[in-house]
Amino acid sequence: MSDTKSSPRILVFSTDTISDPGIDQAGQRKIHYSPSVYVISLPCSSGIKPRWIMHAFEQGFDGVFIAADGIECSYNHKCAEYTNNIIVETQQMMKDKNINPKRIRMAALCSVCAEPFVNHMENFSRILVELEN
């Protein structure tokens, strides 16, 4: 069986100028992570709609990870707060659908955060596997 079947499927929302270059760098440095991680890059994590996250769960993703800019966000210094609000709102929607709120996570990643990204993916995968058991 391929790893894409056995590993939890994780959808990552990254940001065009900060966290996505960090994820790219993991690839450039050939640091391996699970092939069941898929990335959608956006201008800012504060622009993620809860319905997109819910759609991901409906389609079979096991977890959603938001690679936010945190204090480095060039658009808004309250970016982390706004992104957190989106997560809180989504978690309520997840509870209503009997989806464990632990299936969504957020962390700030910078444009050179290759190792931290890979570590986050490993940890999150582990948590998602535990949730299945």
Binding site: S2, D3, T4, R9, L11, T17, I18, D20, P21, I23, D24, Q25, A26, G27, Q28, K30, I31, H32, Y33, P35, S36, Y38, V39, I40, S41, L42, P43, C44, S46, G47, I48, K49, P50, R51, W52, H55, A56, Q59, G60, F61, I71, E72, C73, S74, Y75, N76, H77, C79, Y82, I86, E89, S111
Partner: protein, 667 residues
């Protein structure tokens, strides 16, 4: 809503093996031909090669493609390349999607080629589905004024104003103080050149005066800022100068196409009692010490006492693990060491003690550290957890410090003067300036650029640039470099008189909007305003000021806002694409991608054809081929190596004299 795209061209890149060594692009290419809406699906050696770009243009025109997808490297590298290809072919560049199957697929999953191939299928399906919902968007064209407002007449602002004036722009240079020059004018000597700071400023001031297209306003404070890129409108209140009687305060409205903010920094001011500052007369800050040096030509005297022993305490108000100023101010180590050399040269009989945490005389400034050490300066390293203790005993000032270089020995030093090496802070009025221009500020209160490496002088406010130390601690050289970089960006922006803004902005579905105002509350750029449409209050987006962050979209309870190119259909269809089930058997023997000796490509790139034509049945070395093709050897080497890898050519012995391999066409 636009019609869903049904004539999509898909180009999957081998990237010379960077992708196809791990991902079976050839099989994916075949598989994707069956995908709904895909008219053409090709695997190509280098999608970015000129020959392929020409082929793509031909395909778009001949097959009447309505969208294209390139699955290759990161969009950060070639998004613009392929948008231009679309444009040249007459296709709207917004109908193009780039899928990253290199940095986010073949490279990080090079250990699992089969899974990498499966993932690439998902990524490409997502790209195809996304492009199917893409809309033809037009850039927003804005006419711009050839006038630049420069805020701050320190060294950065003056230097930029002169360059902008030279380029022919009308420049308004606005300074809050009554004199120009900022902190540089206060320096007796600047490192590394040793020039007098005031003289540098005077020379620049003379140049500013010599340009008729620079208007300098001193004692000038910005009041209201309105408008947007191309036509900012700024009210400047000019206070009367005390020395000129009868002068009245007046407010002028200045119009500018772009703004350069170069407002500089404030020196950190120690709190009362911090290292004895304000309570012990022998404790001063570095800027105060510099002033003392300026005013004491013969002997260094403070409080009627000749100074023979100076102790510098570094990192005061900077690099605070528990405080607010976590950053390093970059210039202060070098500035202090330079000052120490300066006082030794000026006053001879003087000893300097440097109580430091780390010495950061980076780059060419390291020679100053060397010089200071040779002149006998004493360096004592302390830790932030055990800062030096200052004590006044009668007329004596004693410093107790734990020296981390001598196994934490407790040392006691007597000092005639204690100089606190204070770094930079964001200006006290930075939040005010930030609010006026809507420039984002960081937790450290310095202005934020879009990206420290890729867009270091641009802000998310189109047309507003930052230069110098208002962005973060910098020395003079770095400040001028950054403000001149901003100057070049302004010139590129305003040069043609018109600018094209990317169409990635928020859009309001006014039929669904019920105007609750939440979108306007979260928008830092005042880009969403209330308007009336069909007798209803609804939101309206200012297309010129919208930064395209999308922050307003999730807060809308009616889901009436979306961001162009990031609509619900586009994002949700991508998610669907990732999750589409593929039978691994359909991809064929995917793992064989790394084992096959020869991969069959639909067509060789033009450079390969050229190389094969030079061989013409015989054999040649790489330098011979390069000479015949009039191409660089490095380029030919790269292609020949890849051709060898793909079995298009084979080594055919060696030229023993020149020590180069021959290559010939593989039969």
């Amino acid at each position: 809503m636009e019609k869903k795209k049904q004539r999509i061209g898909l180009y999957i890149c081998h990237c010379g093996g960077n992708i196809s060594d791990y991902v079976n692009v050839e099989e994916i290419g075949k598989l994707m031909q069956k995908e709904d809406g895909v008219l053409i699906s090709k695997d190509v050696m280098f999608t970015c090669a000129d020959s392929n770009q020409k082929d793509m243009i031909q395909d778009i025109r001949e097959k009447n493609l309505d969208a294209i997808v390139v699955a290759s490297c990161s969009p950060k590298l070639h998004l613009h390349t392929f948008q231009e290809v679309a444009k040249r072919a007459g296709l709207n560049p917004s109908n193009y999607v780039q899928v990253n199957i290199r940095e986010q697929c073949s490279w990080p999953h090079s250990d699992k080629p089969k899974d990498a191939t499966m993932k690439a299928v998902g990524l490409i399906q997502a790209g195809v589905k996304r492009v199917a919902y893409s809309e033809s968007l037009e850039n927003i064209e804005v006419e711009v004024k050839s006038t630049v407002l420069v805020v701050g007449a320190g060294i950065s602002g003056m230097r930029s104003s002169i360059e902008l004036a030279r380029l022919g722009y009308e420049v308004y240079l606005v300074e809050k103080e009554s004199v120009v020059g900022g902190h540089v004018a206060e320096l007796e000597q600047v490192f590394m050149s040793g020039q007098n700071g005031k003289k540098i400023i005077n020379d620049l001031y003379e140049q500013v005066k010599s340009y008729s297209n620079i208007t300098l306003f001193t004692n000038a404070v910005m009041e209201n800022v309105s408008g947007s890129i191309g036509n900012f409108s700024v009210d400047v209140r000019i206070k009367p100068r005390e020395e000129i009687s009868g002068q009245k305060e007046e407010t002028l409205t200045l119009h500018a196409g772009a703004v350069l903010v170069a407002t500089g920094f404030d020196p950190y001011q120690p709190k009362e009692g911090e290292y004895g500052y304000g309570t012990m007369p022998s404790v001063v800050t570095l800027p105060e010490f510099n002033e003392m040096i300026r005013n004491n030509p013969g002997k260094l005297v403070h409080n009627s006492r000749q100074i023979r022993k100076v102790s510098f305490i570094y990192c005061v108000g900077n690099r605070q693990n528990k405080g607010e100023n976590k950053y390093c101010s970059r210039h202060c180590c070098t500035s202090t060491i330079h000052t120490s050399i300066q006082i030794r040269e000026k006053y001879k009989d003087i000893t300097s003690f440097h109580l430091y945490r780390d010495i950061r005389t980076y780059g060419k400034q390291e020679v100053l550290f060397e010089k200071s050490s040779r002149q006998g300066d004493i360096y004592i390293r302390f830790d932030e957890k055990e800062p030096p203790q200052i004590e006044q005993q009668g007329k004596k000032t004693l410093i107790r410090v734990t020296d981390y270089l001598t196994e934490k020995r407790e040392l006691e030093l007597e000092a005639d003067l204690v100089v606190l090496v204070t770094g930079m802070e964001a200006r006290k009025d930075s939040t005010d300036i930030s609010a006026k221009f809507k420039i984002p500020i960081g937790n450290d209160k310095f202005f934020n650029e879009i990206h420290p490496k890729l867009k270091p002088v641009e802000t998310v406010i189109k047309g507003v640039f930052i230069g110098g130390s208002c962005q973060g601690p910098k020395n003079i050289t770095e400040s001028v470099q950054s403000s001149l970089a901003a100057t070049a960006k302004i010139n590129a922006l305003l040069g043609s008189g018109k600018i094209q803004l990317a169409p990635i902005i928020a859009r309001v579905n006014q039929d669904a909007c019920t105007w609750c105002g939440k979108c306007a509350e979260v928008c830092d750029y005042d880009s969403l305003v209330k308007t009336t449409a069909a007798n209803r209050e609804v939101a309206l987006v200012n297309r010129a000021t919208c930064a395209g962050c999308g922050i307003c979209a999730p807060v809308c309870p009616e889901n009436a806002i979306d961001l162009a190119q990031y609509t619900d259909s586009e994002i949700e269809s991508m998610i669907d694409g990732f999750m589409m089930e593929i039978d691994p058997g359909e991809i064929g023997k995917a793992e064989a991608a790394v084992e096959k000796e020869v991969l069959q490509m639909r067509e060789y790139p033009q450079m390969w054809k050229n190389i094969l034509s030079t061989l013409n049945g015989g054999k040649k070395t790489i330098p011979e081929m390069a000479e015949e093709l009039n191409e660089k050897k490095e380029l030919v080497t790269y292609h020949v190596m890849t051709m060898n890898r793909y079995g298009a050519v084979v080594p055919a012995g060696m030229d023993e004299d020149e020590e180069y391999y021959y290559y010939s066409i593989k039969n």
